[in-house]
């Protein structure tokens, strides 16, 4: 018997029980959709982090206030005020392994343009920001060292600010009001995208001195990022920074440091690995639901074999061989699982794009994941179809014909 014939029979049988076929497929649909969505989210997170690593520059160290991670717990990193602008100056003067240094103070503040206002991340920094954070202006210029020195009221805005505040107006030269101080827009940052739920483009950069004295009224820094001269001296540079800052903070030997130095790229690499294993975990859980879907197929196929015992008897009486019956039922379960797989793939891809649209998470739908889900659902169809199909093929025609 030809395969086309089996497909025809399977179609008849499945169309004859539309609701039942749909419900049976649902297990596979949900399983496959879940696998695709989970892997897409996981891959998205990973791609996000990889991008971040690339944009960081490979040999950047970040100094933050607060002590080192201790026993797995961070002691309020960021919430403690210990880093000052003078620390950055000291590093700039004394450290031999450091090429660039970028002190940063950031906080959210109300910003206004015309009748629009928004709570935006205000970042006080120096021109080294461009180098260390790998940032470029697409229009206008970055502020200069002079701007920092004279606490100029100039700012550089991210893409989200451009869209939210200015729309079609050219922002260069316009005045934005931050905490009731007027800032002139002199540059626009290149698009960075979002980092998980954080929109990296909804920020305004201002000279650090302006931020400290005029906007936030504080001496303390949120972080100091430094670029080490080469990757080989990262360890030496870390020790050097440690020494300089401990002396700067007048910490006696034995006392814990009130700051911590992190090699951010290695931290992100770890994060990348973590998100990878997380992807596998989610995918694995989704795969379990696909297997449950397969059991559903087996269940319904067994019912179908019982219901159609007489049909099987009739087919055997007129000359169907065991193989013909086996293939007929196997094709039927395969059609169920593959159709479910295809619908599941469509739903999964659609779901992934909905998630990235509404939750703002980056998702990456990979061909590999689709292929994997497709092959997996086909295997489920064959694996869980073989037992009912064998049962049908082995029926004794005499008993099958007599079955009530």
């Amino acid at each position: 018997m030809r395969l086309r014939e089996s497909i025809h029979i399977a179609r008849r049988s499945l169309m004859g029980n539309k609701m039942r076929s749909l419900l049976t497929m649902l297990g596979v649909i949900i399983g496959v959709a879940a696998i695709i969505a989970m892997i897409s989210i996981g891959n998205g997170a990973k791609a996000d982090i990889s991008e971040r690593i690339k944009s960081l520059g490979s040999n950047v160290l970040q100094i933050r206030p607060g002590s080192q991670m201790f026993g797995g717990r961070g002691f309020g990193a960021g919430s403690v005020m210990t880093l000052k602008y003078e620390d950055a100056e000291a590093i700039r003067e004394k450290a031999k392994h450091i090429a660039y240094i970028e002190p940063q103070i950031s906080n959210r503040a109300q910003a206004k343009f015309g009748n629009k206002n928004d709570n935006i991340e205000i970042v006080g920094t120096t021109p080294e920001y461009q180098r260390v954070q790998n940032a470029k202006t697409v229009k206008g210029n970055f502020f200069s060292d002079e701007d920092v020195l004279y606490r100029e009221k100039v700012c550089i805005i991210g893409q989200t600010v451009v869209t939210n505040f200015f729309g079609n107006i050219d922002p260069i030269g316009q005045i934005i009001r931050i905490k009731n101080i007027d800032f002139r827009v002199i540059g626009i940052l290149e698009k960075k995208g979002s980092m998980g739920p954080f929109d990296m483009d909804n920020r305004i950069l201002i000279p650090i001195t302006t931020a400290q004295k005029r906007v936030f009224g504080t001496d303390y820094l949120n972080s100091i990022s430094v670029e080490v001269k080469s990757k080989d001296v990262i360890k030496d540079a870390t020790e050097e920074l440690e020494t300089i800052l401990r002396r700067q903070h007048k910490l006696p030997a034995g006392k814990e440091s009130d700051f911590n130095i992190r090699d951010q790229s290695s931290f992100l690499e770890t994060l990348e690995k973590t998100s990878q294993s997380f992807t596998y975990l989610l995918g694995g859980i989704a795969a379990v639901s696909l297997i449950v879907g397969g059991i559903g197929i087996m269940n319904i196929m067994l019912v179908s074999v019982t219901e159609r015992t007489r049909e099987i008897g009739t087919r055997k009486a007129v000359g169907a061989k065991r193989r013909d019956i086996l293939i007929q039922f196997l094709v039927e379960s395969l059609v169920l699982s593959l159709l479910g797989g295809i619908i599941g793939i469509l739903l999964g891809v659609g779901g992934a794009s909905l998630i990235s649209k509404f939750a703002g998470w980056k998702t990456v739908v990979s061909v590999d994941a689709i292929l994997l889900a497709f092959i997996f659902s086909a295997s489920v169809g064959i694996f869980f179809g073989i037992y009912p199909a064998r049962k049908a093929a082995r029926l004794n025609p005499i008993e099958a014909l007599r079955y009530e």
């Binding site: 018997m1 009739t314 007129v318 061989k321 065991r322 014909l401």
Partner: protein
């Protein structure tokens, strides 16, 4: 026991001392205790007997749905004993046309596809299948009902579809098991007339029934009792 006249024809069914023993739980039940039978090409034979006489078992063996425990059975020159499932399926497909009491049509399929079914398992091309099936439906007077499903048809029509189905692979014999059992007597007569006509065209027909007046449409009645042939009568 066999008349000389019958020995002269082409032998379609030759059975020699066939027995069949089933195992029912702990006990062996012997349904056939030694049947010897000769049916020639072109005959119309009825097998009669009360329930428990072994006529169903005999029919299953003649129909190659089952094999004898001992003895030999040749159908159209092919020895059937010792064949495996697939070989039996092949013989059923090419040499036997079944007509059942309960019609056994595929409920979801149209009449024409039901008639095509034996050809599906004989690798006949779709076009040829359609044509042959249509001819057979015409032969039983159902050409107009080809696209109807069994549940849209009367019992008589269904049985005629089943007869058309039994004919498509040009079988050596047609094996009818109580073909009028589920029909009213008028329709039963119509069905028997079709069998008579097919027989006049030269087709060998074996009819299993327990109704005397149905059996009387055939030319020879074999009476079965307790797994043995009790007697034969020619009509």
């Amino acid at each position: 026991m066999l008349s000389e006249q019958l020995c002269e024809g082409i032998k379609m069914i030759v059975m020699d001392n066939v027995t069949k023993t089933y195992r029912m739980g702990e006990v062996d039940v012997t349904a056939l205790k030694g049947i010897s039978l000769l049916i020639n090409e072109g005959e119309f034979v009825s097998i009669m007997g009360p329930s428990g006489s072994g006529k169903s078992t005999l029919m299953n063996i003649i129909g190659c749905l089952d094999v004898p425990t001992s003895g030999t059975y040749e159908l159209d020159g092919t020895p059937v004993g010792g064949l495996n499932d697939n070989q039996l399926a092949d013989i059923r497909n090419r040499k036997i046309g079944f007509v059942f009491q309960t019609f056994n049509l595929l409920a979801r399929e149209e009449a024409i596809y039901n008639v095509e079914l034996p050809m599906v398992y004989n690798n006949v091309s779709e076009k040829e299948r359609r044509e042959t099936a249509m001819q057979m439906l015409e032969a039983v007077g159902l050409a107009k009902r080809a696209k109807h499903k069994p549940n849209e048809m009367s019992g008589g029509e269904r049985q005629r579809v089943a007869i058309a189905r039994s004919l498509v692979n040009k079988p050596a014999i047609i094996l009818a098991d109580e073909p009028t059992g589920n029909l009213d007597s008028k329709t039963g007569v119509e069905i028997m007339r079709i069998f008579q006509k097919l027989n006049e065209d030269g087709i060998t027909i074996i009819l299993v029934t327990h109704e005397r007046d149905i059996a009387e449409y055939s030319h020879r009645i074999i009476n079965l009792r307790d797994g043995l042939i009790e007697g034969e009568e020619k009509l």
